[in-house]
Amino acid sequence: MSQEADLINEGLSLMMFGMGFVFVFLTVLVFATSLMSKITLALAPMAPEKATPNARPSVAPVASDPSSDPVLLSVINEAVRQHRARRQ
């Protein structure tokens, strides 16, 4: 067999093995994760930290605008008020 065909064969077999393994691995992970979730929830019945739909936006830590949060604003106002009081 020519060297070129060899290389193509290597590529093909890497593709098959590779994709195959990725699917096997992630399939096992799907089952393992589901099993883990079931056991976990059985052992410690849901004291949900937070519902995911409202969870913090994962990989984007920069965001969060303080001026749009009334609770935060009141904290700030309180801090500032106290600070002024203290300075007098």
Binding site: L14, G18, V22, A32, S34, S58
Partner: protein, 436 residues
């Protein structure tokens, strides 16, 4: 007077050549894209700047001491180097090829010679050796990314892992493309190089840098630039493909709200993943191990100090050095070749195929199951976190203004990170099995 000459013959103007000039222009182009067009600026600003520094003529910042000797040594010095390497000096490329393939003991002797002749490693060469040569920088970035990743959406709907698996098809199709190009005689990629190029399709910067540092360090510059550039282009590359492969009705599918996920599940997930890696694919252990470690630090709730540092000071520091180090691989005589064009062409094909595979997988899953998923979230399986998930959301909103896919797309999005790290492990294993 001869000092004035030295100043002039040592200046950048005197030593400028077309290659260096081209690469400096490319460096500025990367900076422009990063700063003005917001192309992955955290990486492309350091990479672009490092690329400019690496190509300053006569500065030799990206060269080792031996490489400097080979480039600018006197005739007598070059003969000494050739003698140490057991060859005759012809030109710097030839002598360096001998040096690169010499056994470690001979390399050490050549380094000692360069040191005795007062040559030193360039700044960027040192950065590269420490950050990438040792593979530590991509691993620490991966740890930081783990500490920033919320697996909640994935845990709420683990089936989305299949989408992350399907999108890795882009990786392997690209490997095939690369060996195909070599077979046609267009390029001259080895199987190691083809594997490293394929990983661009993983749409995951640190994974791409890690794999190419292990399998094909000579292509690292082009691979990293392609990976980060195309990740930035995701909002342009993906939507046409997504729309071509789906009907209006499919794009309008609304998904059921994700169930809440408990704290304990989030703690257990990185450990489950770690066990699977340990059992099935030890070659992915450095990458996925550090990723799981970062995620465990995030979720376990008792080491917030460490998690915070991993997500901030540490990852930022490493990013600076990683970027400059990648830039050091943009020296003209390594980067300016037809191979780079091949890599850029293959890279975008990889992204397109990965996107398509993710969308088609979602449609297949809808055929096999009653719970319908919106096929637009399939494209997020390529990774490119969180850009690809945002693209899914945006295209979804165009089809149905009540369709908020962001959280649903985060599942396949982080699954894609796992998927490409697994693919990386398989390729390293496979290629080293051929070599060994």
């Amino acid at each position: 007077m001869d000092k004035l000459m030295a100043l002039w013959t040592g200046s950048g103007l005197y030593n400028m050549d077309a290659g260096s000039l081209t690469m400096i222009v490319i460096g500025f182009l990367l900076l422009y894209l990063a700063i003005r067009k917001n192309f992955e600026p955290l990486l492309l600003v350091p990479i672009g700047f490092g690329g400019i520094l690496a190509n300053i003529p006569a500065a030799g910042l990206a060269y080792s001491a031996v490489e400097q000797l080979a480039h600018v040594g006197s005739a007598a010095q070059l003969d000494q180097l050739a003698a140490v390497l057991g060859t005759q000096f012809e030109n710097y490329k030839q002598i360096l090829d001998v040096y690169y393939s010499a056994p470690a003991a001979v390399k050490l002797t050549a380094e000692q010679l360069a040191s005795d002749l007062n040559y030193n490693n360039g700044m960027l060469y040192n950065f590269y050796s420490v950050a990438i040569g040792s593979t530590v920088a991509p691993l620490l970035i991966f740890m930081g990314v783990g500490a920033m990743t919320d697996f909640g959406p994935l845990l709420a709907n683990p089936r989305t892992l299949f989408l992350g698996a399907a999108a890795q098809f882009g990786i392997f199709a690209t490997v095939l493309g690369a060996v195909g190009m070599s077979s046609l005689g267009w390029m001259d990629f080895s199987i190691e190089q083809a594997a490293a190029i394929g990983i661009i399709g993983g749409a995951d910067g640190p994974t791409a840098i890690y794999v190419s540092s292990v399998l094909a360090p000579e292509l690292l510059g082009a691979i990293a630039v392609a990976a980060y550039s195309y990740m930035a282009l995701v909002p342009m590359i993906q939507p046409p493909i997504m729309k071509a492969l789906t009907t209006e009705k499919e794009r309008a599918i609304e998904m059921v709200q994700l169930r809440p996920v408990s704290k304990l599940e989030k703690i257990m997930f990185p450990l489950v993943l770690l066990v699977l890696v340990a059992l099935l694919l030890p070659d992915a252990a450095p990458l996925l191990g550090m990723f799981c470690f970062g995620n465990l630090m995030r979720e376990c709730g008792v080491v917030d100090r460490l998690s915070d540092t991993a997500q901030n000071a540490l990852i930022n520091t490493v990013t600076i050095f990683l970027g400059l180090s990648v830039g050091s691989k943009l020296v003209a005589d390594k980067f300016l070749s037809t191979e780079t064009l091949g890599i850029l062409a293959l890279g975008i094909v990889a992204f397109a195929i990965g996107t398509a595979a993710g969308v088609l997988m979602a449609k297949l899953m809808n055929k096999l199951s009653k719970t319908q998923i919106n096929p637009l979230i399939g494209s997020a399986g390529v990774s490119a976190v969180p850009m690809a998930a945002r693209v899914s959301n945006k295209v979804g909103l165009e089809a149905n203004p009540h369709n908020f896919l962001l959280m649903h797309a985060m599942g396949p999005n982080v699954a894609g990170v796992i998927g490409s790290a697994v693919a990386a492990g398989v390729m390293i294993k496979y290629v080293s099995a051929i070599a060994g």
